[in-house]
Subunit: 256 residues, 2 copies
């Protein structure tokens, strides 16, 4: 994939930050020494961590140069590291590993969650949130259009970039033996957006990227038009003309 | 139904209180004058409200004498009122109406939510949480067993005591015109319980009551045995022998 576009991602910053806030609210840690924001993106989640624990050493980790540039502008006194979590280990003494909306992109993520949980000191916390929306119309429809001509050949691999997430019981069995406490839940948000085009704008910043990045501009335009038409049919307007984007996310909080 | 049993309800107090905490976390009010805990039960949610807003006048409202007795023991300096929310209006100047796990029992609850939201002053908040679990195995199976002999005749009405909740879009259309801000979401908890019997104990405190209250002791025992056997099949043990009780709940936070 091309690099992430921080500006596109931040178009819905308030709505996108609520899951990070909800995740943070369930982390019981009071005075951590070191905190790592894994997949920190443009630093919106990192800012929440700094606000909650002003005395901790908070670092951000991301694979995207564009995201890291924005994060450094936002929090110039904090350290941001370009790294892929699949090949990264936290510095010794890290008490909180916070991973908001990143592990859905990491192949075999359960293996890495186990590795990170196992590496925590007693009382340390691994807090994870992932979109669990591949079975929502928003995502079913991007695959459905991609399977049609003329996009089929170029996009046949796009749907494979993200795996469907395991059920809560699978995370439970994998992580429970490594923890003293484990909470697993889903929250299904209903984001109020202006219309079908706004839903497309929203997913353009994340889930739609593997589908439109490989396309040249003319194919991209026709793909987006076909996708937008289906979105409009799947998300009918409310009485006030708005649409509700149903968005399920899974949350895991593991305390070592 | 017979009166509520506070002791049965409180068997899972920590787990039952998390939704109330999650609801409260999304109420933006900083310094309310008066706060009403509608359906206060044994006062566990009321205690959260008193802790959050120690300077507010917090009252509790419930239909159950047993619950109110426990609530008064827990918070002896606060006012608890025996009333049905369907025939109750908040005192003037009430800034927060908090209703945790009560409106699912109120017939035509959407009408009452609209009435309460309409009556708020500007900035006032109506915060509601309801179990939305009638389509979960735990509840499908209590109806399934009730439809069989010998319980059929006595329990045919039990399943009608609670309506399936409307979809988020219905609440949105009903409440949005009355509010400046409206958040609607579901959280699906996974309660870790010791086994199928613990699931039965859990629902005995709430959803199972209309099914077992009408039965004499011998029928009740056979009903519970048949129900427990089905629960055991529907909720297989995790690797450590525990079961996960999946429990969806809907949350509404309306700001006038």
């Amino acid at each position: 994939m091309a690099d992430w576009n921080a500006e596109q991602y931040l178009k819905f910053e308030d709505e996108r930050t609520r899951p990070a806030r909800d995740l943070l609210a369930q982390v019981p840690t009071t005075a951590p020494r070191k905190v790592a924001d894994i997949g920190c993106g443009p630093g919106n989640s990192t800012a929440l961590l700094v606000e909650r624990w002003p005395d901790a050493a908070v670092i951000g980790v991301d694979t995207s140069a564009d995201m890291l540039r924005q994060a450094r502008e936002r929090l110039p006194t904090h350290k941001f590291i370009e790294a892929n979590v699949a090949h990264w280990a936290p510095p010794a003494g890290t008490d909180v590993l916070f991973a908001n909306a990143v592990f859905q992109w990491v192949p075999d993520h359960l293996k890495h969650l186990k590795r990170l949980a196992a590496g925590l000191e007693s009382g340390g916390v691994l807090a994870v949130q992932m979109p669990d929306n591949l079975d929502e119309p928003s995502h079913i429809l991007m695959r459905e259009v991609a399977m049609q001509e003329p996009w089929r050949q170029q996009l046949s691999k796009a749907a494979e970039l993200r795996d469907t997430l395991p059920k809560p019981g699978v995370y439970y069995d994998a992580l429970r033996p490594l923890c003293s406490r484990l909470e697993i839940w889903h929250t299904v948000y209903n984001h109020v957006l202006d219309g079908p085009e706004a839903i497309v704008e929203w997913v353009k910043g994340t889930g739609l990227r593997p589908f439109i990045d490989p396309l040249e501009l003319p194919e991209r335009k026709t793909y987006l038009a076909a996708y937008t038409a289906r979105i409009a049919a799947a998300y009918p307007a409310q009485a006030d003309g708005k649409v509700l984007l149903r968005f399920p996310r899974i949350f895991l909080v593991a305390v070592k």
